[in-house]
């Protein structure tokens, strides 16, 4: 149960986040799914380093966790009409009831232009010794200017390896964003989730 819970945290915490934003920019992010409520706040201290806090609530067990996120943009390739990134991710925190610690490290790579996006992320979690891979392929059926709403259709594929076993999940996601607001809605029949993010 606990392992599934953390796997869900891993999954849903990673897929929506822009790991680092503009210097002195702030991120506020909310997510809800059948397993947990997740609230994040972060500040980009520079254009390649974001630090923030996160509060998680397990809706089934009523457990809560307080975490610190540390995201580092190791390399960005800015090109005409495209962008690619390589991020290093880490987090550390405590169960607020029993103070048991947890930590994770990860690497995230992506490439996007105005119509297509590819993302790959690998993370390792100390509490469950789990290795998780998240892959995204996304397509925007139309492009819009700065003031209009952009739509992305995303195929998300997740693999988790722990206890010598693999588990797989594929689900579609719709992303809508306009200026500094982003909403994602996903479902694969058995699981649904919503997330909201804003930069300011």
């Amino acid at each position: 149960m606990l392992r599934k819970f953390f796997a869900l945290i891993i999954l849903f915490s990673a897929i929506s986040a822009h790991p680092v934003i503009f210097k002195n920019g702030k991120v506020f992010w909310l997510s809800q799914n059948p397993s947990f409520n997740d609230i994040r706040f972060g500040v980009s201290k520079s254009s390649n380093w974001l630090i923030g806090g996160r509060f998680l609530e397990d809706r089934k067990s009523n457990e809560t966790f307080a975490l610190i996120n540390n995201n580092y943009l190791a390399k960005r390739w800015n090109n005409r009409n495209s962008q690619a990134n390589l991020y290093l991710l880490s987090s550390v925190g405590l169960n607020t009831k029993n103070s048991k610690s947890m930590g994770s490290i990860g690497i995230h790579g992506d490439w996007e232009d105005r119509r297509f996006m590819v993302m790959q992320m690998l993370e390792y979690y100390s509490h469950s010794s789990a290795l998780v891979s998240n892959t995204r392929l996304a397509y925007s059926p139309y492009t819009v200017d700065y003031s209009k709403t952009s739509t992305w259709l995303i195929a998300h594929y997740r693999i988790e390896y722990s206890d010598n076993k693999y588990s797989y999940m594929l689900f579609p996601v719709v992303r809508l964003f306009k200026k500094n607001y982003l909403v994602e809605i996903g479902s694969n029949g058995g699981n649904t989730f919503l997330s909201f993010m804003t930069h300011f």
Binding site: H18, F22, R80, S82, Q83, T143, Y146, F177
Partner: protein, 139 residues
């Protein structure tokens, strides 16, 4: 007739305007404005960070465009209104773009009726590459 000539003379002295080209798009640039080609600006969230950065500076004329900044994501440029009293240091513009996480490829500044074109060299240093008196530049 005399009044018409005075009016035309007034217009010619009071306005400075030119056109520049970025990614094959022709852009009209007026006195006290800058046009910046931003590499990597592929989404509105990217552009939002750039707008926020310029909003905190002391050289943007917020009466122009939207709070002093116009964004074209398709052609990957931002157009800036510059305060008339400020002789802009182009490095300040580049710093805002880099703090947002992006790179400048080309920068045009039209001030004091002089249009200057800058380009970033292979070392990432901004270099003036052409000057002109309000005639057109191509990319």
């Amino acid at each position: 007739m005399k009044n018409l000539l005075i009016f035309i003379l007034f217009l010619s002295l009071g306005f400075s305007q030119s056109k520049v080209s970025i990614q094959d798009k022709e852009i009209e640039i007026n006195e006290n404005e800058a046009v910046v080609e931003v590499l990597g600006m592929v989404c509105s969230m990217c552009a939002f960070g750039i707008g926020e950065g310029f909003a905190k500076t002391d050289f943007i004329d917020k009466s122009k465009f939207t709070d002093g900044v116009a964004v074209d994501i398709d052609a990957q440029y931002v157009q800036l209104g510059l305060l008339e009293s400020t002789n802009i240091n182009p490095e300040k513009i580049v710093q805002v773009i880099e703090d947002a996480g992006y790179d400048v490829n080309l920068l045009f500044i039209l001030q004091n009726e002089k249009l200057t074109k800058f380009s970033t060299d292979k070392l990432g240093i901004l270099q003036p590459i052409a000057f002109n008196l309000t005639s057109n530049f191509d990319n």
